[in-house]
């Protein structure tokens, strides 16, 4: 790489490809087929297991809404696009973890199965799994913890038949929270691994 000396370009997070993911309020697309519908049904039943529910109070403040991942909610996304993935997953592009943990529980398994079904349907798509931690850890440890979480998700996707060459990981530690509070609700939502397909 070259020198990094242009001090006038102040775009925050320019190389940080993660964009803010909001809950997608969109009619269920049935293009996922029978498998996806079944899985979606099961996650609805199991969503309140040991982990924090997905249905939480609204985000405090308006999270930056520069979501270019989809234009979801604005018509039908192109099949096989990241927008389509987000719309189809209905929140299952993200799995959550307990404090300091990185194991895949039954809720996560359901979500990852949905992800795998979509990825197998679009075999040319590659994806990056972003691992995150909550703010109540030290910075460097959280980077390693996020990497460990992303790898847990990746390994489970591989076990479901997704080609290893298609899946990368990246950890952001505690540097990119999605929930902005300093409370258990926010921390539970920030301990996450998010699958982002690459358009």
């Amino acid at each position: 790489m070259g020198t990094d000396s242009t001090l006038n370009a102040l775009t925050p997070g320019g190389a940080d490809t993660k964009l803010n993911k909001k809950e997608i309020a969109m009619p269920v697309q049935t293009r996922g087929g029978a498998l996806a519908l079944t899985l979606l049904g099961s996650v609805a039943l199991s969503a309140c297991a040991s982990k924090a529910p997905k249905q939480l109070p609204p985000d405090p403040g308006a999270a930056v809404s520069t979501d270019t991942s989809g234009g979801a909610g604005m018509g039908v996304a192109t099949p096989g696009s990241q927008a389509d993935f987000v719309a189809t997953m209905m929140g299952q592009d993200t799995i959550l973890f307990d404090t300091d943990r990185y194991n895949i529980d039954s809720t996560d398994q359901t979500a990852l199965a949905a992800q795998a079904a979509w990825l197998i349907k679009y075999p040319a798509k590659r994806a990056t799994i972003e691992g995150h931690a909550d703010e109540r850890g030290t910075r460097e440890y959280n980077l390693a913890l996020g990497e460990r979480r992303a790898n847990s998700a990746r390994n489970y996707l591989l076990s479901l038949g997704v080609d290893a060459a298609r899946l990368g990981t990246v950890s952001y530690g505690k540097e990119r929270p999605v929930a902005l509070g300093s409370d258990e609700d926010s921390w539970s939502r920030n301990r996450r691994a998010v699958t982002v397909t690459i358009d």
């Binding site: 790489m1 020198t3 102040l10 930056v64 030290t138 390693a144 990246v170 540097e175």
Partner: protein, 451 residues
């Protein structure tokens, strides 16, 4: 950066002043009591620091202006260094009479006694023909009517503040018996923007916050810098190209390169005390271990192989041991190992978690983040005893030692807003203050004393 030249030979205008050195005087000082940062001298000692004299009013190429203005600015920096770090009770230069050049060697003791000052710092500045500046600094004990220390330096116009820091270091060292630390620099991460999209830029500054410079643009996340022992390089983590890797940047030219090419994420870079080795952590399949590699390039050596996260190593000052953190026991705890990776032993048994260990440059203590509810900066002995908490706030983390091992900087995160700031605390835990930075700051890395 050109170095500050210590004057050891005679000067044309004040030939008798510079025969003895501050270093010799310092060796004669009594040993300080344990944990007593001010040695045998009361911290209430009033130190008068009038404006430095000059041989002639002359323009300079410094940001301070003429030699007269410069003399005032130099004294102000010396006073600020002492005051801001909780040492003694400096007064001046405002409100104090300005000594004439002839008084620099022969203070008007009566004048200063009348002002209830116990110590007196006087100095002079002279503009040389070549644009260089010569600064002399003298410390007197007013009641004893005795000169305690003196030194002089020649500096370039861009480094004039360093002469003041050297003077403050001379005064502090002579009065406390401790090693100097003011003439040093800090690398850190400057933070701006909302909590979910914080911009994180690598920045550097003098120990007092002056000469602040951003080294990266903020287009990619920068984290965890570490100044090299010679100040010529900074190791840090960058998401350039989208993934966390370790870069080495030259703060002067801003040229940078990868520490080495890797398909795996790399974290937590650290220098060895001699600058020849770099410790880092690498995740493979989610498992993070500590490695070392020659700073100039070469073959990495793996030092840990536990299935847990091993990260954040810090060398002992003799370079023989490494303190690091590992969650192999189930939670973050601090371990010590030999530099070849043998003899790994846990040393933290305090309840809660123990993270981000940093070995003191004196070798006698390890600073770390103790997580038991809140995040607090603490110190312990290298054997894991003598736990002492230095701070008590919601989230303090990532300690870095002053070059003399008597002060610790860290960063504090505010609950809710996530805003960060650089703070420092002395080893008594009593003198705590926030550093002034242009924007929020985190991950301070305090470099060594400059030559």
């Amino acid at each position: 950066m050109t170095s500050v030249k210590r004057i050891l030979t005679s000067l044309s205008i004040l030939p008798a002043l510079l025969l003895s050195s501050a270093v010799q005087a310092q060796e004669a000082a009594p040993e300080s009591a344990e944990e007593d940062v001010v040695g045998t001298l009361s911290n209430d000692t009033v130190v008068a620091i009038p404006a430095f004299a000059t041989n002639a009013e002359a323009a300079t190429q410094t940001s301070a202006g003429s030699t007269t203005a410069l003399g005032n600015a130099l004294a102000a920096i010396v006073a600020d260094d002492l005051r801001n770090n909780g040492f003694y009770k400096p007064t001046g230069p405002a409100g104090l009479p300005r000594p004439a050049l002839a008084e620099i060697q022969t203070p008007a003791y009566g004048t200063w006694e009348g002002r209830s000052a116990e110590m007196l710092v006087q100095g002079y500045v002279r503009a040389n023909g070549d644009g260089q500046l010569t600064v002399g600094c003298y410390l007197y004990d007013i009641s004893l009517k005795q000169r305690l220390a003196q030194a002089g330096w020649t500096v370039g116009p861009g480094e004039w503040r360093r002469a003041a820091h050297k003077c403050a270091d001379m005064v502090y060292s002579r009065l406390s018996g401790e090693n100097p630390f003011f003439d040093s620099r800090i690398a850190y991460i400057a933070e701006t923007g909302p909590k979910d999209r914080r911009m994180k830029r690598l920045a550097i500054m003098d120990s007092d916050g002056a000469n602040h410079t951003y080294l990266t643009t903020g287009q990619t996340i920068a984290l965890t810098p570490r100044y090299s022992p010679d100040y010529k390089s900074i190791l840090y983590l960058s998401y350039f190209n989208g993934a966390p890797r370790i870069y080495i940047i030259d703060p002067a030219s801003r040229a940078q390169r990868l520490l080495f090419q890797s398909k795996n994420p790399l974290f937590a870079p650290r220098w060895s005390p001699d600058g020849k080795w770099v410790l880092y952590s690498m995740a493979t399949g989610g498992n993070t271990d500590i490695y070392k590699i020659p700073a100039a390039g070469g073959t990495p050596t793996r030092l840990t192989d536990s299935p847990g996260i091993d990260i954040g190593g810090s060398f002992s000052p003799d370079g023989k041991r490494i303190v690091f953190e590992s969650d192999r026991s189930g939670s973050q705890q601090v371990y010590v190992m030999n530099v070849d990776g043998t003899g790994q032993n846990r040393i933290s048994f305090f309840g809660g978690r123990a993270a981000t260990p940093e070995w003191s440059p004196r070798g006698d203590q390890i600073a770390f983040t103790h997580i038991a509810g809140n995040f607090r900066i603490a110190v312990m002995s290298p054997a894991g005893g003598e736990l002492r908490h230095l701070t008590d706030s919601w989230q303090d983390e990532a300690p870095t030692w002053a070059p003399n091992g008597r002060i610790i900087q860290f960063f504090r995160t505010a609950r809710g807003s996530g805003r960060t700031g650089l703070w420092q605390v002395d080893l008594t835990g009593r003198n705590e203050r926030k550093l002034t930075t242009p924007v929020d700051g985190s991950d301070p890395s305090w470099g060594p004393i400059q030559p």
